[in-house]
Symmetry: D2
């Protein structure tokens, strides 16, 4: 049995629900496809989130790291192609705001996902779940965690595959933030399950 570290985030900005938190808690300790799921919820915090995912990585020694994030406005499941070496955007949950700042001072500008993103998109679509590759994970905490993890694996010279997938808002969240496109939590949960089943 292989192991997957599945991360989500707590709520942030004006989104009082983060569907990735629910998904991660619900799938924690479940077996999906070839994987035992280790679910962990990360803080929306530039100082802590990177350290925490690395700590979870060291503790769980997973074969795959799959990080999930909410992309408010997304109409599809979007595996991210690349993480970039940049912190920017709104203040995090602790009020810390970054602008045009490198995550790793001597790190490369960008790092491609090592998940099979094309296969994931095709497999989700086959399962009747709209999906597409995204070419930016932004410059906020999602990108921060994705870059941090990819850089760590590379630095350690490990074979662990790692990457990030953004998901749409849930219906529950869209009822509170009325302009957001949304999926049912059931659809979101099924999408993450399908993704894990598609991994070798």
């Amino acid at each position: 049995m292989k192991k997957i570290l599945l991360t989500g985030f707590v709520p942030f900005l004006n989104y009082s629900i983060n569907p990735t938190e629910h998904i991660v808690k619900q799938l924690n300790e479940q077996t999906i496809g070839n994987y035992e799921v280790c679910g962990r919820v990360l803080p929306v915090d530039f100082e802590k989130s990177g350290k925490q995912i690395i700590k979870h990585f060291e503790e769980t020694e997973p074969d795959v790291v799959l990080s999930l994030g909410l992309a408010a406005g997304n109409v599809k499941i979007t595996p991210e192609r690349i993480a970039i070496n940049c912190n920017d955007g709104e203040a995090d949950n602790r009020g810390s705001q970054k602008q045009d700042q490198r995550i790793v001072s001597d790190g490369p500008d960008g790092l491609f996902s090592t998940l099979p993103i094309r296969k994931l998109v095709n497999g989700l679509t086959d399962a009747n779940l709209p999906a597409a590759i995204s070419n930016t994970a932004g410059t906020y905490l999602c990108n921060h965690v994705m870059y941090t993890m990819l850089h760590q694996v590379k630095k350690e010279g490990k074979a662990t595959r790692s990457g990030f997938v953004h998901i749409p808002a849930s219906h529950e969240l869209a009822i509170l933030n009325p302009k957001l496109p949304s999926w049912s939590e059931q659809d979101l949960l099924r999408a993450v399950t399908v993704i894990i089943e598609l991994l070798d």
Copy 2:
């Protein structure tokens, strides 16, 4: 047992699937809440669709007429507030195109829905399904059918309540038309069921 005439449409324009067609076929002859459902699929045709809904109305003698239409781009279920006395927009499935043309030459400019649209929105939201009142049903076949039916009921002096609800694309359709927001067919079907259950 009361009766509801539930209408949907066939596919149109570049949308090769119309989720309202599937819903109407699936709910036909079912009993939901206090209603026996008479499901009928209408053509996307300025000449025929109005005549057909009136024919179905006369044959089924329903207590309520609920017409469904696809609103490609919608992120919610949207009961329509008003139908307007205007045919306009792209050509229909027979190639007939209208511009700024009255539906009923001496009919009023607008006719409000006689469904309890606020109650529907609140009830859908309570059922965790994003919903909002829409203030335009457009000027294409959806508005045409809504106006035609409301005008007919008024002309005949009947008490039948009548109105229109637009629904988002299904995941199936969004996979073919990649920019559309979408819901699973299951969510769409549940929304229509909830609406019928909310009717007195």
Copy 3:
């Protein structure tokens, strides 16, 4: 020389600039095409705005009433096809909020614009300014003023043509509200000038 009553609105909701206010002030007392412009700025207030536009109408005795409103999110100039007999939406500038309320208790559900909206759209497009007919003016103050004025003219049995045109945000406003599409004030001003020149 004919006379046109041109109205705009003060800022509202979280839009701290209302480009229609600037346009109306700038065109006030100018002569455009066959028209002398009487520019008036209306409050965003369900109690007062209708009374004020009627007062301006009585004082100026115009041949045409053209009301302008900001449609945050619009990418074009959109002459409105219809006003509906409904107050709804967010609270106005005095904190008064309406829901599903008729504007005129015994008024018709909808009233078509009596401006030549198709001609305006074609003329704007010919002038290289994107334009389209809109089928809803919403249910907030814009629709309120449009309905009130159309109903008043009808009630008085006058020949005055009356209608509403929504415009996009200005660049100035979009800089403060970062997701809005916008035009330069110069383009917005040119659009309103073109509209007046198109009137007989």
Copy 4:
């Protein structure tokens, strides 16, 4: 007098006008701020566009390379933060389509723009022109040209600053492709002029 190589593209996909082509032709051989402008129009062609920009670079020996591209759907001027080592997306003007393919087989995954993108955004905003940093130039020809040029400069060890700026559709184009947000050509031209004036 310094020299700037300013590139645009010919029309592509279903956009029969490319405003960057007009801008580049109009500013060619003009002096703006400290720069003499060398304007060149590139083909939308995965095989040729990279070779051509390098050829123009060698011939003109500029101090700065500024490439422009149309971002249909953009509501602002968006200097790009990063180019990524990937060709993907729709077929180019010669019918050649790429998927998940590296541009430079042994090149880095991403390369940051070496233009002062934050300064450009601030300066454009000060000039009342909405602007924001974009974190993805996509994976089509715009990104291809941006990556190719940044990689070439790096490979040659030169100090030339290089980067890419996406612009909204022009009103002219939006009239042909009706859902696009747009600016007047005059605003677009002013934006590019402001950018060049902001360069040291």
